[in-house]
């Protein structure tokens, strides 16, 4: 089987495994297409974990877990019929006009074309150093007997400590090899590159959707008595005067969705620029960085709807099961996403006073714990079986100071995006906070907290580790800074979309003020009734 046909078959199999769980978690959206193979790769990683822990064969576990995922998805649709993708219940779809949907399609086309253009690099038959020595070497190990894989992971004579790294990339490669019979490193590299691109496209499309929703909100006429949905969670603090406000001009209100499409396409090139050559040579750094980035964007910057939480779950599992740095970053992000959900949740419940609403906080905590258990299973298993590379001595406090300085110096050249992102975020936060609030984007601090989590996870490992810091930095710093650098550019892009809505927001405000000034006495309305504290939307 040729590499091309084997790649198609492998991606189809991974997608088939991830299809129903993804549709159950996310619904039918554009990003479902890019999330499905990632969910399949997560199932492959879980299969590798269970295989090493229990025995049997890797592929039997892969098929079993895929079937289990499908059954759970089916059961969830039986239990909650309104969550079926074909159900047209309230909130099942965002209300959009035809040209908003057209913008979504345009964004998909732009992102797909940009990804295809960048993936031309696959014509260079590169297999990365670590891909050959570790990531795809382990793909073969997962296809060995259980006793043999334990021996290979434990044997000190094999020296390589990194073989205990999380299994997602290797497991996806093992599925590809097993299904196609094509045991070439080239196939593994191409499959990993496509998974990387799926994670990137998912993160980029968040910007398209964000702009589209912002435009949709700006162009919707506001009627008297209808509360404005600031934060998207029923903020009733803003009342409209009698008479319908005319929406801002079509051009002004369309600016965010156009800005979203342009920014998303630019972000594809930026991301390939930051992650190449590792994006297309089989390394695991891009997939954890891009998946964690997507989790930040959907979990800490977007509106935080249930569908978004499904996206976040798949991306966090992908990041946490790909590499040690991804595991630590994903663990911190899981906590941050749960905290944000806890800060949003009280106003997001319709039937207050019910038993469910009293225990609403259990949901985000339970989801966070389940995600932590999933991503933590492999590192714990490696300790239990005594795999190589599990002992990690710490440097002394004195060494940590000099290592911190070296780490800072090493990071600086790769984080120049902060020179753009910080001023833009400060100015935007000071002047455009009202516009951002209208856009339904989360408070920018959440995004920065996500960026800091990745930076601290990687920086912390470099600082407390004992390997010689200079060569360590020289050979890894450009890869381990991918996540914070990418997140910085996404923060810039979100501000660009927010700021593009400023004229429309200002025009809407001007129109509203004009209405108020010219209202005759008999049409004035009393000030809005005070909103109970429990109904107020926090600025998230």
């Amino acid at each position: 089987m040729t590499t091309a046909s084997a790649t198609i078959l492998a991606m189809v199999v991974l997608s088939a495994a991830g299809l129903l769980p993804t549709v159950a978690l996310v619904g039918l959206r554009w990003i479902t297409f890019t999330l499905v193979p990632l969910a399949g790769a997560v199932i492959a990683a879980l299969a590798a974990t269970v295989y090493v822990a229990v025995g049997g064969t890797f592929m039997v576990w892969f098929v079993t877990l895929a079937a289990l995922g499908a059954v759970v998805a089916g059961l969830s649709w039986m239990r909650w019929p309104d969550r079926r993708p074909w159900a047209a219940g309230p909130g099942s779809r965002t209300s959009t006009t035809a040209h908003h949907r057209l913008t979504g399609a345009l964004g998909v086309l732009g992102i797909a074309a940009a990804c295809a253009w960048c993936l031309r690099d696959l014509s260079t038959p590169t297999v990365g150093f670590d891909a050959r020595a570790l990531w795809l070497t382990r793909s073969g190990w997962f296809l060995h007997s259980h006793q043999q894989v334990l021996t290979t992971l434990r044997s000190p004579s094999l020296v390589l400590g990194q073989s205990a790294y999380p299994p997602l990339v290797s497991a996806a490669g093992a599925v590809a090899w097993s299904i196609t019979g094509n045991h070439t490193l080239r196939l593994g590299v191409v499959v990993v590159a496509l998974l990387n691109t799926c994670a990137l496209a998912t993160a980029a499309f968040a910007i398209v959707e964000f702009g589209r929703r912002f435009s949709s909100k700006l162009s919707a006429p506001e009627r008297p008595g209808r509360p404005t949905l600031s934060n998207g969670i029923g903020d009733t603090s803003e009342a409209s005067p009698p008479g319908e406000r005319r929406p801002p001009t079509a051009l002004a209100s369309s600016a965010p969705m156009l800005a979203g499409v342009v920014a998303a396409v630019l972000l594809i090139f930026i991301s390939f620029g930051i992650t190449e050559p590792f994006m297309t040579n089989g390394y695991a750094d891009p997939i954890w960085s891009l998946a964690a980035l997507g989790a930040v964007v959907y979990g800490l910057q977007m509106s935080g709807r249930r569908s978004e939480q499904g996206v976040v779950a798949i991306l966090l599992l992908t990041a946490g099961m790909s590499k040690n740095e991804g595991f630590v970053t994903a663990a911190v992000l899981i906590v941050l996403v749960a905290l944000r959900q806890l800060s949003v949740q009280p106003t997001n419940r319709g039937n207050r006073g019910t038993r469910w609403s009293r225990w609403w906080w259990r949901g985000p905590i339970a989801i966070g714990l389940a995600e932590l258990a999933a991503v933590g299973a492999w590192p714990i298993l490696m300790r239990v079986i005594g795999a190589r590379g599990q002992s990690s001595p710490l440097s002394t406090p004195g060494e940590m100071v000099s290592r911190a300085r070296a780490t800072y110096d090493g990071f600086v050249p790769y984080l120049h995006v902060l020179l753009w992102a910080v001023p833009i975020a400060v100015i935007g936060g000071l002047v455009l906070s009202k516009v951002r609030s209208r856009s339904q984007a989360a408070n920018d601090w959440w995004g920065w907290a996500g960026l800091a989590s990745g930076l601290l996870a990687v920086g912390g490992a470099l600082i407390v580790g004992t390997s010689a810091i200079e060569p360590w930095l020289a050979t890894t710093v450009h890869r381990v800074t991918e996540f914070p650098a990418l997140t910085g550019w996404w923060i810039v892009a979100v501000w660009a979309v927010v700021a593009s809505g400023a004229p429309a927001v200002a025009a809407g405000e001007r129109t509203a003020n004009r209405h108020r000034e010219h209202l005759p006495d008999h049409l004035t309305v009393p000030p809005p009734a005070p909103v109970p504290e429990t109904l107020r939307a926090p600025s998230v």
């Binding site: 004579s157 094999l158 409209s240 972000l267 620029g273 190449e276």
Partner: protein, 169 residues
Amino acid sequence: MGPQVASGTVKGKPWARGRASGKATIAVGIIVVAAAGVGLGLQAVDGAHTVGDQRQPTTVRNAAIDDAYYQCLDIQARSLISPNQPVTIDAGNLGDFISLLKAIGSWATFSDSSSSAEARLSLHSTRGSGGCRGSVVVADFAVPHQGVTQRVGTGASMPGHGPPPAPPL
């Protein structure tokens, strides 16, 4: 008592009082869009160049040499051992160890210890024509195979000397 006029509020604060005026909001919005657009655009152009660099003839040639080198070692190793035979890598230095691991790591069966291995694989230098850039895979068998305890890999060769140019780490 004058007419009461409804006033929009955000988090309890008036829209147009005590906050940035509409004109200031528009001006800053335009500045932020421009600054972000310039940053994103410049970085995207840089990214496109990086993508293009991966398709430069030198990069393609180095990748092909790297691939051919490890395929050469792989074929030589397969001429010495079968996938089910327990082996160990006995390299004199870390570089040779990694080279052999990269060549055979995904399919060879590694033994728990040297004593339980049927063969010990190593890389030897050669000046002859049968090497992979001057190296040959050698197997030392614990039990003599057809009367010999050491065999040299065959079936592939590659001109040149020394490992191929290291790909980016």
